[in-house]
C-alpha cells in the first residue's frame, strides 16, 4: 500500500493478567522517520515493540504496518513483508551458518534473486562478519550474534524496521556502525522504531521519542525535547 503509513498504532494495549504491560498506545511513523521508545525497566518498551511486531497478541487496539494488520491472517502476511524485526536476543538456528541465515531470510522474503549474493556479501563485509560468514552461532560472540540478527533484518527491503535494545552487546565502533546503517535506512525511506537506554546512541538517529512508564505514555515529542524533560525528571543523568 504505497499511500499507507509504515506504522499506525491506535489505542494499543496489552495486559498480563491484572498487570498492564501497555496502555492505549497511539503512534504513527512516517517514511524515513525514527521514533525511540525510552523508559525504565518494565515500562513497557519491549511489550510495545513485540505487540507491534506481532510476537504478542494485543488485548485491545489496532496495529497497521503498511496498512496491514500483523495479527490477522492472511493480511498479516503482507504486514510481515513490510516489517523487519531485530529482537533483543537474536533468534538463530544452531545448524545454519551466518551466511546461510541471510540466504534463508532472502529466500523466505522473496528477494533471493536479483543480486542477493552480492547484497549478502556486501552486508557481511559492512558488518565485519565476512571472516565469520561460515561460522555457526555457537562459535560467535554475543556481539557477533547480535550483528547477525541485524544483518537478517537488513538483507531484505522493509518499510518498517523495529529494533528492541539493538546496542546491547555491541562495542562502541559497532554502535557507531549501527547508527550509520539506521541513518542510511531512514534516507532510503524506511521508518525506524527502536527501544533503548542509550541516550547518546539515540541522539544520532531518533527524530521523535515516547517516554513510557508502567505501560503509559509519560511524554512524547521531538527527541531533543523529550530527552531534556527526561533529564529534568532525573531519569537521565545530564550530559549522558
Amino acid at each position: 500500500m504505497p499511500d499507507a503509513l509504515p506504522l499506525q498504532v491506535e489505542r494499543l494495549g496489552r495486559r498480563y493478567g491484572r498487570l498492564v504491560g501497555l496502555d492505549r498506545l497511539d503512534l504513527e511513523l512516517r517514511a524515513g522517520e525514527c521514533v525511540a521508545l525510552i523508559g525504565a525497566n518494565g515500562s513497557g518498551k519491549s511489550t510495545a515493540v513485540r505487540t507491534i511486531a506481532g510476537l504478542l497478541e494485543p488485548s485491545e487496539g489496532t496495529v497497521r504496518i503498511d496498512g496491514h494488520d500483523p495479527h490477522a491472517e492472511p493480511d498479516a502476511e503482507l504486514a510481515r513483508a513490510a516489517l523487519a524485526l531485530v529482537p533483543d536476543a537474536p533468534l538463530l538456528y544452531d545448524d545454519l551458518t551466518v551466511r546461510q541465515h541471510l540466504e534463508l531470510v532472502a529466500l523466505a522474503h522473496g528477494v533471493a534473486g536479483d543480486g542477493a549474493e552480492d547484497r549478502i556479501t556486501a552486508l557481511l563485509d559492512r558488518l565485519g562478519l565476512t571472516a565469520r560468514a561460515d561460522f555457526l552461532p555457537a562459535e560467535l560472540s554475543r556481539g557477533m550474534r547480535q550483528k547477525t540478527g541485524l544483518a537478517c533484518a537488513l538483507v531484505r527491503p522493509a518499510r518498517l524496521l523495529v529494533l528492541d535494545e539493538p546496542v546491547v552487546g555491541l562495542d562502541p565502533p559497532s554502535q557507531a556502525l549501527l547508527a550509520e546503517l539506521l541513518l542510511e535506512a531512514k534516507r532510503a525511506g524506511t521508518a525506524v522504531l527502536l527501544t533503548t537506554h542509550q541516550m547518546r546512541f539515540a541522539d544520532g538517529v531518533a527524530d521523535r521519542a515516547l517516554m513510557l512508564d508502567e505501560g503509559k505514555v509519560l511524554d512524547r515529542g521531538a527527541w531533543r525535547d523529550v530527552r531534556l524533560r527526561a533529564e529534568r525528571r532525573g531519569w537521565v543523568p545530564e550530559g549522558e
Binding site: L55, E73, R80, L85, E103, V105, L107, A108, H109
Partner: protein
C-alpha cells in the same frame, strides 16, 4: 515454500540410502531378536488384563481418558510445533502459515495413528492369550478403530493448539470427563444393557467394539468413527494456519526447555517448561492471611498462602484424599483397590507440595531468605499438606460411619487408614524433595551397570516413594480387614512410628538440596 524446502535440503544434505535405511535395519533386527520375547512377555502379562470382558468394561473409559489426554496435549504443545528460530525466521516471513503448518500437522496425524495402532496391537496380544481367539476381520477392525481414535485425538489437539476457545472448553471438560470415565466403568460393569450403552455412547466406545464379544454391529461403529475422524481431520486441516505467533513462540520456548531438561534427566523442569505454556500470571489469594507473629509458623503460613492462592488445587487435594479413603473403606478386603486408594491420598498430598518443590528448584533462595537450615524448612513444608489431607481422610471416614458403610472390622480399618495418612504425606514430600531429577549416585550406578538392569534401577528410583506410600497405606488396612483386630496394636504402633522415621529422612541435612 518449494524454493525454501529445496534450499533447506541443500543446506542440510540428506544422508545416503544406506544411512536412511539404518533405522529400518535396527527395527527389524530388534524385532527379530526381541520380538518373540516381547510377545511372550506381553502375552503373559496381559492375559488376565485384556480379556474380552475387561476390554468391554474398562475399554470405553480408558479410551475416553486417553482421547482427552491426547487432545489436551494441544494445550502444552500439539502437533504443529516450530523451533524458536523457525518462529523468528519463517513465521516472521511473508509465507503462508497454512503451508508451513501442513507438513507438521500431517506428520502428527500419521504418528498419532501409528502410535495408536501399535497400542492396539499390544492389546490384541493380550486378547489372544490363554487360547482365546478373534476373527481376523475384528482384529483388523480393532487396530483400524484405535488408529482412527488416534487421528481424532491429534486433530483435536491441533484445534486446541490453535484456539483459545477450544483450549478453554477442553480444560473445563477435564474433571467432567474423568467423572464420566468412572461412570462408564460402573455402567459397563452393571450388565449387558449397560455394556451396550457404554460401547455406543461415543467414539471411545465405538473404537473398542471390534475387540469385544458384542455381536454384529461393530462395522457400523467403525464407520461412525471413520466419519468422525475424517470430519475432525478436515476441520483441523482447514484451521491449521490460524494460530498466533505468540502461541507458537511460547510453545517453541517450552519445547526447548523441556528437551534440555530431559537431556539432563530432569522431569520436574521438563514438566515446568511444558506447563508454562498455559500458565497465567501468578494467582493472588482473595482472602488475605495474616502473617503469624512467631517465626515457627512462617513456613506453614507461606504454604497456606500458596494453597489459598490456587483454591482449585486445594479442592483437588481434599477430593483425592476423601475419594481415596472412600475407595479404601468400601473395598478394604481387596488389596488392589486399597492400594489405589492410598495412591489417591498420595496424589492429593502431592498437589499441595508445590512450595516444597520450589525450595528444591532454587535452594539458594531459602538459604538467603530464611534462617532455618534447609532440612528443617523441608520438614515444615509437609505440615499444611498433612493437615489438609488428614481433613479429607477424616471427612470420608465420618461420612462412611454415618452412612453405615464401614466394612467388617470397620473401626480398626478406619483407624489404620487415618494413622497411615501422615506417612503417605511424608512419602509424597520425600519424593518431591528429590526435585524430579536423577541424582549423580543413581546415574553413576547405571553407567557402570553391566547386567542390563539400568532401566530397572531408574524405574525403582522413580517409584520408590509412591510404592512405599502404597505399602504403608494398603498392607495394614488389608490385614485388619482380613484378620480383624488381632494385629491392630502392632500395626498401629508401626504406623505411629513410621512418620518419625520418614520425617527424619525429609529433614536429613546431609543430602539436603
Amino acid at each position: 515454500m518449494g524454493a525454501i524446502r529445496t534450499w533447506w535440503r541443500g543446506a542440510h544434505p540428506s544422508p545416503g540410502l544406506l544411512k536412511r535405511l539404518e533405522p529400518v535395519y535396527y527395527v527389524l533386527i530388534t524385532l527379530g531378536i526381541g520380538g518373540p520375547f516381547v510377545y511372550g512377555t506381553a502375552s503373559a502379562a496381559l492375559a488376565d488384563v485384556a480379556t474380552p470382558r475387561a476390554i468391554a468394561v474398562w475399554g470405553p473409559s480408558v479410551a475416553l481418558v486417553a482421547l482427552l489426554g491426547v487432545v489436551r496435549w494441544g494445550a502444552v504443545q500439539g502437533p504443529v510445533v516450530f523451533s524458536v528460530p523457525d518462529v523468528a525466521q519463517l513465521l516472521g516471513a511473508p509465507l503462508r502459515r497454512a503451508e508451513l503448518a501442513l507438513g507438521r500437522l500431517l506428520r502428527g496425524i500419521a504418528l498419532g495413528a501409528a502410535g495408536a495402532a501399535v497400542l492396539a496391537g499390544i492389546v490384541l496380544i493380550g486378547r489372544l492369550s490363554d487360547g482365546r481367539s478373534i476373527a481376523v476381520a475384528r482384529a483388523v477392525g480393532f487396530v483400524a478403530a484405535i488408529a482412527l481414535l488416534g487421528i481424532l485425538g491429534v486433530a483435536g489437539a491441533s484445534l486446541v493448539q490453535g484456539s483459545r476457545r477450544w483450549d478453554r472448553v477442553t480444560r473445563l471438560a477435564v474433571w467432567p470427563v474423568l467423572a464420566a470415565g468412572v461412570g462408564l466403568v460402573v455402567l459397563a460393569g452393571s450388565g449387558t444393557a449397560g455394556e451396550h450403552v457404554a460401547l455406543w455412547c461415543g467414539p471411545w466406545g465405538w473404537a473398542i467394539q471390534p475387540a469385544t464379544r458384542i455381536a454384529g454391529a461393530w462395522p457400523v461403529a467403525l464407520a461412525l468413527l471413520a466419519a468422525l475422524a475424517a470430519a475432525a481431520m478436515a476441520l483441523a486441516l482447514r484451521r491449521r494456519g490460524v494460530s498466533s505467533t505468540e502461541r507458537h513462540m511460547v510453545r517453541a520456548d517450552a519445547r526447548g526447555g523441556a528437551v534440555a531438561a530431559l537431556y539432563s534427566m530432569n522431569a520436574r523442569y521438563a514438566r515446568r517448561s511444558l506447563t508454562s505454556v498455559n500458565a497465567g500470571p501468578a494467582a493472588i489469594p482473595r482472602a488475605r492471611l495474616r502473617a503469624p507473629r512467631s517465626e515457627r509458623w512462617a513456613i506453614a503460613w507461606r504454604d497456606a498462602v500458596a494453597a489459598l492462592a490456587v483454591p482449585q488445587r486445594l479442592g483437588e487435594a481434599l477430593a483425592l484424599a476423601a475419594g481415596g479413603t472412600l475407595v479404601t473403606l468400601l473395598n478394604a478386603r481387596h488389596p488392589v483397590a486399597v492400594g489405589l486408594g492410598a495412591l489417591a491420598v498420595y496424589a492429593g498430598a502431592a498437589r499441595l507440595l508445590e512450595p516444597l518443590r520450589a525450595e528444591t528448584d532454587k535452594p539458594g533462595r531459602a538459604r538467603v531468605l530464611l534462617i532455618a537450615p534447609m532440612g528443617r524448612v523441608l520438614g515444615e513444608h509437609a505440615l499444611v499438606p498433612a493437615v489438609v489431607v488428614l481433613a479429607g481422610v477424616l471427612a470420608s471416614v465420618a461420612g462412611c460411619a454415618i452412612a453405615g458403610a464401614l466394612p467388617a472390622h470397620g473401626g480398626a480399618v478406619a483407624l489404620l487408614a487415618v494413622l497411615a495418612t501422615p506417612s503417605i504425606v511424608l512419602c509424597a514430600a520425600l519424593s518431591s524433595r528429590r526435585g524430579g531429577r536423577l541424582p549423580e549416585s543413581v546415574l553413576s550406578v547405571t553407567y557402570v551397570d553391566t547386567t542390563g538392569s539400568s532401566m530397572l534401577i531408574v524405574l525403582l528410583w522413580i517409584v520408590a516413594f509412591p510404592v512405599l506410600a502404597i505399602a504403608l497405606g494398603a498392607i495394614p488396612v488389608t490385614v485388619a480387614a482380613h484378620h480383624g483386630t488381632s494385629a491392630l496394636p502392632t500395626l498401629a504402633i508401626v504406623l505411629a512410628c513410621a512418620p518419625f522415621a520418614l520425617l527424619a529422612g525429609l529433614r536429613w541435612e546431609r543430602f539436603a538440596p
